[in-house]
Symmetry: C2
Subunit: 239 residues, 2 copies
Amino acid sequence: MTETPGYRPLYRQVYDILVNRVVQGAWRPGEALPSEQSLAKELGVSQGTVRKVLDALTAEKLLERRQGKGTYIAEHTQERALFRFFRIARPGGERLKPERAGETVKVRAARAAERAKLDLERDARVVEITRNRSIDGQPAIHEVIVVSAQLFPGIEKRASLPNTLYSLYQTEYGINIVSTREEVHAELATASDHRALGVEVGSPILVIDRVALSLQERKVEWRVSRLKSDGFVYAVTLT
Amino acid sequence: MTETPGYRPLYRQVYDILVNRVVQGAWRPGEALPSEQSLAKELGVSQGTVRKVLDALTAEKLLERRQGKGTYIAEHTQERALFRFFRIARPGGERLKPERAGETVKVRAARAAERAKLDLERDARVVEITRNRSIDGQPAIHEVIVVSAQLFPGIEKRASLPNTLYSLYQTEYGINIVSTREEVHAELATASDHRALGVEVGSPILVIDRVALSLQERKVEWRVSRLKSDGFVYAVTLT
DNA sequence: GAGTGGTCTAGACCACGCA
DNA sequence: GCGTGGTCTAGACCACTCT
């Protein structure tokens, strides 16, 4: 995948060092990094080189920079995580916030499809979270979320899971979700959709199949969301 | 929308100057810009400042830089335009290329919905392009594309339109499409879908509603694509 | 070898946040 | 007033392309 470097720019090395530190939890979410000057001195490079790396990491939304204050580990707060990866809106563009409306959690052996999606070992176990979500008080989304039980030990014993799981992954397990790959298609509502969403059997349903990737490109979560299609759209801006 | 600058960094001014030149067609797609040094001298700034701007424009995919050669206006080639904004794939991720399979073009008065979507005047006229597309020889997509007749004079008289309209917009009309806003939802196939796509009435259809924006954030094109849903997905990576 | 973009440095000054 | 990030400069050297 990655080609032979042959030549490895300084800022690339600095980049790897800093990413490693972040991954290893050298700083907690929300915590400030050392200043450009001190990082530069410590790593033996110029401030400009450190700056280039910090800017790149900021563009990747791993860090946040505030003039006059410092550079911080980006936090997957409820708000931010929600709007970064939650793409459901009203036709025309109005952003929506889903509320939670029922959830079940269980641990079981991984199925073949799950092992394939998440690159799991043959005897791996997974945590399955099933949740229904409402928008404006109406049932709208039914989600099945699958993660490796090994990666998230004890997650099934938590009393309540946050609305945005990604902030939990980050703060409790040190796993940063930085990107997702989604595939969207249309289906007809089944009897189970009728029970979960209150739609008629045979009405159109939008199905969103998402794999969430961590900073190290590891496949961390598989999530299939079934969305009632009248009054909602899946909205994306491509650039 | 835009706030008062109050303070306007040099590189911002240089950015605006260069974007204006590109928009005004100072260089043709594929053509090389002057070197960093000569731009710096001409604009009275340092090479580093010019570089920052050129890097930013490269990130926006408006320019391409090649070490040892120069900086070029990015071309919306068939290949690149296709893969940049065409998000249809096989489940699992395999990218697809659509073939054209029938097209009609007409000019008519804009409807209210079209005026709203494209910010058109009350008496505006539009060009409507209806096309069917096949994938692997099977009808798969039905598209209705609407653009302002004023923005694209004579486009309806062209003998044949390219597979990717965006390269035509760029080379013949100097309009660069840099982003799109898409809304995806599910519907049931109608009789017209049955005729165009060969699917049964009542089967699930993925509908993609896209507005394409030019460099100046102008709404240039409205496109509604109806996609047969078995065997195809709308695939996107969020970061 | 000449010319281009790519990396890196050292140092200056500006804008911002805070004590 | 101090420390932070943000902008800008001038100059050096490296890597790549073409002649």
